[in-house]
């Protein structure tokens, strides 16, 4: 490979691989949140909001 191709190849591949691994490891290592309190005023995530139409 010529020098400019090699530089483009290595920079692009190493950058993309490093960022992918970084974020995926962050996903794996972030502790799960507690979902006991949904205090944002929204209804429960599972099931539609139901109102009295009157």
């Amino acid at each position: 490979m010529n020098t400019s191709a090699l530089i483009m190849y290595l920079v692009a591949n190493i950058t993309v691989t490093a960022i992918t691994i970084y974020f995926f490891f962050k996903v794996l290592n972030t502790p799960p949140k507690s979902h006991q309190v949904d205090d944002d005023g929204y209804p429960d995530a599972h099931g539609p909001k139901t109102f009295d139409a009157t």
Partner: protein
Amino acid sequence: MSTNTESWGSRVGLVLAMAGNAVGLGNFLRFPVQAIQNGGGSFIIPYLTCFLLMGLPLLFVEWSMGRFGGKYGHHSTPFILDSMTKQNFWKYIGVFGLFTNLAVAAYYCYLESWTVAYIYHSLVGTFSTLNQDGVADFFSNYTTLNTTTTGIPYEAVIFWVLCLILNTYILSRGLSGGIEKVAKIGMPLLILFGIILAIRAVTLKTGSQGAIANGTDGLNYLWTPDFKSIWTPSVWLAAAGQIFFTLSVGMGSIHCYASYLRAKDDVALNAMSAGWMNEFVEVVLGGAVVIPITVGYFGIDGMIELVNRAGGLGLGFRTLPYLFQQWGPVLSVLAGVFWFGLLFFAGITSSLAMGTPIVGFLQDEFNWRRQPAAWAFGFMVLLLGLPTVIFFNQGVFDEYDYWVGTVSLVIFALFEIILFAWVFGIDKGWKEINDGADIKVPIIFKYIIKYITPLLIGFVFIGSLPGIWAQITGEYPWQVHASRALLLGIWIAIALVVNYAYRKRLKEGRFTS
């Protein structure tokens, strides 16, 4: 009351399913061809710039919109969009999110079924008895239906129906019991197969196993930068288009997957991780398989001629099965299984994502259980996909791909970014993105989402207009015109169903937000 009470089993499963949704056959077949045709190594500069300015912002937006709609029990775009504004017409913009998934699934499942058939034929050694023209003819015969290389009548239809049944069955098993399991198995295998093939491709040596060039000559050609091309608008248009289609944005499937998150679940880190995983598969693996192997056996000129004549799809299905045969009886079978296996996993993780919004809509609006909703989706895909199978050689498949898999995505994405940034409001939108976020999203994305991303999508749309005009005014057989009418009819039919569901909601006192 909706019967839809599903949720994701694990965060890793969700990220892999989202990445699988984005990773498709285009990562391996479209990206390298686009790079070659648009400046080689320097294509990565506009490509990654568009990823940062358009791809990632759209991922943040779609994940946030999906989770927002999910808080109100919506799992498909018509009512997710409706819940974000008081203006009534947005639900009809959301129709695109059902229409696109249904119509893309209709032809995509056929494409996916080719990979199953090619795995089978790699295993039984069909290609080992054929020369280069024979392998190319195999594909033509396969898609012509009434001709066959192997003696199996209508085998394309058989594999297609099998593939549809498999998709429908997995969908009927639900999010954690079906889709997530497939993603957890499929994505690691896809990456493993890709790494093995990439290593084999770049280690090809001149004179070894019939190769006339080194595999690295292909990489050299692909990555040699032509920096002058960076100043060419058409290169930016190609880069923006590639980013658009590789991430599966503008479809409605990301909204649907994200709608099963809980109110305080992260969207920022998940979107980043899934998006970058797609980039890894596309740039690192997708760029290292097809082109190096083809250059190894045909040289640079031969590869360019093949790309111009048959495109990425032609390289993948007409050429590579023949080239694998040069590697000996065992390696050729393994290479065939790995290549079409990775394309299969890329395909099925995407087609499952296309089914989920339809199933979710039927569950939310008509109280269908998951299983009948999934089988209804399978039946709809069967009916809508039939024209692409029967009239493949008349251009119906390409017509679906153009209008649904290309134009429709851009239109929907343009509307949704306007809704999110300007109607819903960027301040509320920014809060949605950062609610429960496990990473700090740089504030600059707030301004990118508000100003840059809509302009870029507008640029893609305007840049596509000459092509759209040429498509409309071109001469085509009646089957193509009929397929256009069919697609338009499907869009209108879905809009009517959404209207009916909305009136039903009002009657039952179930508002959308």
